[in-house]
């Protein structure tokens, strides 16, 4: 490994390329084909730029680009290092597929305001890569806020009452997390350390007032935790599912939520560094919050009937795996064992979850476009109508549950081992329980799709039955406002009343062959490719570049 810092325009170019494409997309709003090709071109260019830095980064080179002093004592600066590369590579790679998929999806549904949609989408990717490459806390905050702004139009895209309320909630949550918590934490860190540069603050923070250092960590972790959908600030995410599915897929399973997780990774590994995280005792708190989130979210997912909502709760739960891994960094550093494993597991789950969850969302999207079915209770026997889609769905769901040979297993394994090594076996138990819960909420979908038919499906007591024997109305009032399964059932009713034709209609699902007649290849292609990616990550994790990058990060932290 050769350690070197090189000044290079590419990190900046990678951020700007989709910002430029925003202008082009808006300019060509009259010609949809040209407009979409800008998206695809920008995605390819962005990925190319980022991928071209991978070999250098693997050799230990860091590419830097600075726009000079932004505010007193803080530069507006970007840096492509191993950790940032994981996130940037992931987001830009998956954007390529999403760009195709989004074109197919938006056209398939004949959505309005497509120019605004694609422009905001490209802008979001700019912000996401900016977050990945930010060199200090203030720069990451800049992009973190811009990401909130850029994704707001996507959440509220529909313009319906539900979408507007979700958009309002989204803005309120993300600005609470960004403008209040992250900014407050950044100011505290700057006041204590005199710098916000990643990797340069830990020694100063260790010398500062421990209470203030803890407060700053709490503010930053909570602020990033809003986007990472940690409980109790998670409830924007299920509501944001009102957005078109490519948004739910790439942004609310990959770019936006992972920006929060990534922020926590920077915070734990580079702002405070593992030893200090352990000494201050904040790592274990983070791990406990994550453990609670991942269990509770899985349980709520059991009762969500709308597929996208169930996936959203699954996302909340899976993101907490990553946060759990990062939180365990503290105890592991203190115990002097398991540090490398928890870092590897936590970070590897970033790409692993991204591939799997994007597949799942894309499946939900194509089902919606082709059959207008949104509810799991209407999907029995859908394997006949959409065989390829549901196969991909099954593979990705298996990965989510941590079944070997799919991406999710490897990362979970590392966290599990690391937790035991760090003498935090309680968290290992939580992980195992959550695996069971994952199966419990995914298996019925797969089973129903392939092994049942619409007419003769078994009853689904968890989804349809009242919670704990109450009447549904009481369940709604008991369930609280954010995670209430009763509310889900209500919106289900209105959904049907509005006259959308969910389900197969009379006579059950048509049988469609395995040759891809089930939907547009613009959507089907990306689904199959990404599902294949998830398998590759699971079978040969070493071959995929992500694990190498993660090992670099882990070694850097250990050194």
């Amino acid at each position: 490994m050769t350690e070197a810092v090189v000044t290079d325009i590419r990190p900046l170019a990678a951020v700007l390329v989709s910002a430029v494409s925003v202008v082009l997309i808006v300019a060509s709003h009259r010609y949809p084909n040209i407009r979409e090709s800008w998206s695809i071109l920008a995605a390819l260019t962005k990925f190319g730029l980022i991928a071209s830095m991978v070999p250098g980064v693997l050799d230990g080179t860091e590419y830097e680009a600075s726009l000079g002093e932004f505010v007193y004592g803080i530069e507006f600066a970007l840096k492509a290092d191993a950790l940032g590369m994981i996130f940037a590579l992931l987001a830009s790679f998956l954007w390529i597929f999403t760009a195709f998929y989004a074109a197919g999806y938006m056209r398939g549904l004949d959505e309005g305001n497509q120019t605004r949609f694609f422009a905001a989408f490209a802008a979001s990717l700019s912000a996401a890569v900016g977050i990945a490459f930010a060199r200090n806390l203030l720069t990451i905050f800049v992009f973190y806020e811009l990401l909130s702004v850029a994704t707001y139009p996507l959440v509220a895209h529909d313009g319906s009452k539900e979408a507007r309320v979700a958009g309002r909630k989204y803005l309120a949550y993300t600005f609470f997390g960004g403008g209040l918590l992250v900014l407050g934490g950044t100011a505290l860190v700057f006041a204590m350390a005199g710098t916000t540069e990643f990797g340069a603050t830990a020694t100063h923070l260790a010398d500062s007032n421990a209470a203030l250092a803890r407060a700053a960590f709490g503010l930053l972790a909570a602020g990033f935790g809003v986007k990472a959908a940690l409980m109790p600030v998670h409830s924007w995410l299920p509501d944001a599912m009102v957005a078109p599915t490519p948004v739910s897929g790439l942004l609310h399973a990959v770019a936006v939520v992972k920006s929060g997780v990534f922020g926590i990774a920077r915070l734990v590994l580079e702002v405070y560094e593992p030893q200090l995280v352990g000494d201050l005792g904040v790592g274990i708190v983070l791990a406990i919050v994550a453990a609670i989130t991942l269990t509770v979210a899985s349980i709520i997912a059991l009762r969500a009937d709308r597929l996208k909502r169930r996936l959203a709760y699954s996302t909340i739960s899976q993101l907490s795996y990553i946060v759990l891994g990062l939180g365990l960094v503290g105890p592991a550093a203190v115990a002097g064992a398991g540090l490398e494993n928890v870092i590897k597991g936590g970070l590897l789950h970033i790409p692993a979850h991204a591939f799997m969850k994007l597949t799942l969302f894309f499946c939900a999207g194509i089902i919606h476009v082709e059959t207008h079915t949104d509810y799991i209770s209407e999907m029995d026997g859908i394997g006949k109508r959409m065989p390829l889609t549901m196969t991909a769905f099954g593979i990705a769901a298996a990965g989510m549950a941590g079944i070997p040979l799919v991406a999710g297993f490897v990362s979970k394994w590392f966290i599990l081992i690391g937790a035991v090594q760090a003498s935090q076996s309680a968290f290992a138990v939580v992980l195992l329980i959550s695996g069971v819960l994952n199966i419990a909420y995914f298996w019925p979908i797969v089973y129903g799709a392939f092994f049942e038919s619409y007419d003769s499906a078994d009853s689904k007591p968890l989804v349809e039955g009242p919670l704990g024997g109450h009447s549904p109305k009481q369940a709604a009032t008991d369930g609280g406002s954010e995670q209430d399964p009763g509310g889900d059932a209500e919106s289900h009713d209105t959904h049907v009343e509005e006259g959308h034709h969910g389900g197969p209609g009379d006579g059950g699902w048509d049988r469609v062959g395995w040759t891809g007649d089930e939907g547009s290849w613009l959507m089907l292609g990306p689904i199959l490719l990404i599902a294949a990616g998830a398998v590759v990550l699971g079978i040969v994790p070493d071959a995929a570049v992500f694990l190498q990058l993660i090992e670099d990060v882990a070694q850097g932290v250990m050194a």
Binding site: E69, F70, V71, L146, G159, G179, L183
Partner: protein, 538 residues
């Protein structure tokens, strides 16, 4: 000719120019706009020159009105001669006033591009407009406390006139309210200055500051005067007077009416400049006349400022969120934003503030003053243009306008997010420094208010943007567009109106990246404040 004449010319040119529209109006109708443009173009050139001299050349330019007979006098103390007071009115262009001079010159010139189509078009309007510009220039350039009162009154009177210049009943009432409250504020200021004069015997800011510090040896003063009741009371009167003019809660009641009833061009001008210069006056007197040493022994004075400022931020934002008319929303928003600025003034002289805290607070004051002027002026320009072209005034009428007016809606979105403090725009930079100053001074309740103000601003901006972009066109909008408006007003937005709004949006983003240059420009001021020096030397 050297730069020394510039401060005087900057004030004299627009005031003398104000007579021209009236005089030439006898020959030609509607010549006022041309005269004003010419005069203010000259003004902008002079402002650029003086800004260049101050910031690049590093000069502190002073000019004493009245020529040779005035100026600093010698006094004989015992057997040796020493420096006495300055006799006459001194004008000062330094690191603080230079930025404001440039701001006033360019904003008043830019708003003309807007007023060309938006009106009013009478020659008298442009006379008042030029007088107002001259008054504002005087207010920021003067180095004399009583002279500041004179300019405060010129600005006040001209603002009253301009607010009522469309001759509607509502604007007349708003102007009258402003007149009563504004004049009371100015009188308070005068009382405060009177007290100071009684105690110190001078009106020049530098000399007053020195006497307060007990510096001049020839005065039989036994040390600093900071604890004397007369001096403390004078600060109270001055602060209350200027807070009234700045519209800090609870002295803000004139402002929403004045902003929302005034003709659109006038709203743009006064929202960008009038409260800004009053806040500048408060900052200047706090920093260089009373200096941090005064506040070190009068902690209560600082605390009072901080409490009122914090209330202003919270209540102003909440009131803004409760409004239906868009102009009133942004009017109340100014109450909140000037609350932030007043808060930063308070933090900068707070005894708990370290040198770095003071530095960041001063940065915050100046950057937020300028940033807010650009943002708020741009917002009112956008709102005015939208009203002119679609007839929409209330938030409900904004529903679905984004498809109809994409450029103006985009401008509104950019400026709105800048006001919230989304980085990297200028609204963020100011807020960052103010927040950082509070963190450094460890004033935790203020830290909370400052960072929470982001969410409070989001309350009303998001409401507006949601209507614009995501609410389908409602029935109310159609009925609101009366036929008269449709034939005459609708669609008649000029290029100048849109250009001013877009320029403001571009500046709001662009200035965000100029943070380092701005702070460099202010550094001499920071040094002066940290040393409690009455003169800002480069």
């Amino acid at each position: 000719m050297t730069e020394e004449a510039l401060p005087a010319l900057l004030i004299a040119v627009p005031i003398l120019g104000a007579t021209l529209p009236l005089a030439l109006g006898l020959v030609r109708q509607r010549i006022g706009w041309w005269v004003a443009t010419l005069v203010l173009a000259v003004e902008a050139a002079m402002a650029s020159w003086i800004a260049y001299a101050v910031y690049i050349g590093g000069d502190r330019i002073t000019h004493i009105l009245g020529g040779e007979t005035f100026g600093r006098k010698e006094v004989t103390v015992g057997s040796f001669d020493t420096e006495g007071f300055i006799v006459g009115i001194e004008l000062v262009a330094d690191a603080l006033s230079g930025l404001l001079v440039a701001l006033i010159a360019f904003v008043s010139l830019g708003v003309l591009a807007y007023a060309r189509r938006a009106g009013p078009r009478q020659n008298t309007f442009y006379s008042a407009y030029l007088l107002l510009t001259g008054g504002l220039m005087g207010l920021v350039l003067t180095g004399d406390l009583f002279n500041m009162f004179v300019f405060l009154e010129i600005v006040g009177l001209m603002t009253y006139a301009l607010v009522a210049s469309d001759r509607s009943a509502a604007s007349a009432v708003a102007a009258l309210k402003y007149l009563v409250i504004g004049t009371t504020g100015a009188s308070m200021y005068l009382v405060g200055v009177g007290y100071l004069f009684v105690r110190t015997g001078t009106l020049n800011m530098v000399d007053t500051s020195r006497v307060l510090a007990g510096e001049p040896e020839w005065l039989e003063v036994t040390g600093a005067l900071y604890t004397e009741p007369l001096v403390v009371a004078s600060f109270g009167f001055i602060a209350v007077g200027l807070a009234t003019k700045t519209a800090i809660f609870p002295l803000h009641t004139w402002q929403p009416g004045a902003y929302s009833e005034a003709p659109d061009s006038v709203t743009v001008l006064i929202s960008a400049l009038v409260s800004t210069t009053s806040a500048y006056a408060l900052a200047r007197i706090t920093w260089v006349v009373f200096t941090p040493e005064f506040f070190a022994v009068n902690v209560k004075a600082t605390e009072a400022i901080l409490v009122l400022a914090a209330l202003s931020v919270v209540i102003g934002s909440v009131l803004a969120a409760m409004q239906q008319r868009v102009k009133r929303v942004f009017a109340y928003s100014s109450v909140a934003q000037f609350g932030l600025i007043a808060m930063a003034i308070g933090i900068s002289v707070h005894p708990a503030a370290t040198d770095t805290a003071t530095r960041f607070a001063v940065y915050g004051v100046v950057i937020h003053l300028i940033g807010h002027a650009v943002i708020k002026g741009g917002l009112f320009a956008t709102v005015g243009a939208i009203k002119k072209s679609t007839g929409a005034r209330s938030i409900d009428e904004y529903a679905g306008l984004a498809t109809e007016r994409p450029v103006l809606s985009g401008t509104l979105a950019v400026l709105g997010f800048s006001l919230i403090g989304v980085p990297p725009m200028i609204g963020f930079v100011g807020k960052w420094y103010i927040g950082l100053a509070a963190v450094k001074a460890e004033l935790w309740p203020l830290v909370f208010v400052i960072f929470a103000s982001t969410l409070l601003t989001l309350l009303y901006v998001a409401r507006l943007l949601e209507k614009l972009y995501f609410t389908p066109l409602s029935e109310t909008t159609d009925t609101a567009q009366e036929p008269a408006v449709a034939t005459d007003g609708r669609g008649s937005v000029s290029f100048g109106m849109v250009a001013l709004a877009v320029t403001a949006a571009v500046l709001a983003v662009g200035l965000g990246f100029m943070g380092a240059e701005l702070t460099d420009a202010i550094d001499p001021l920071v040094d002066a404040i940290q040393e409690s020096s009455p003169e800002v030397h480069q």
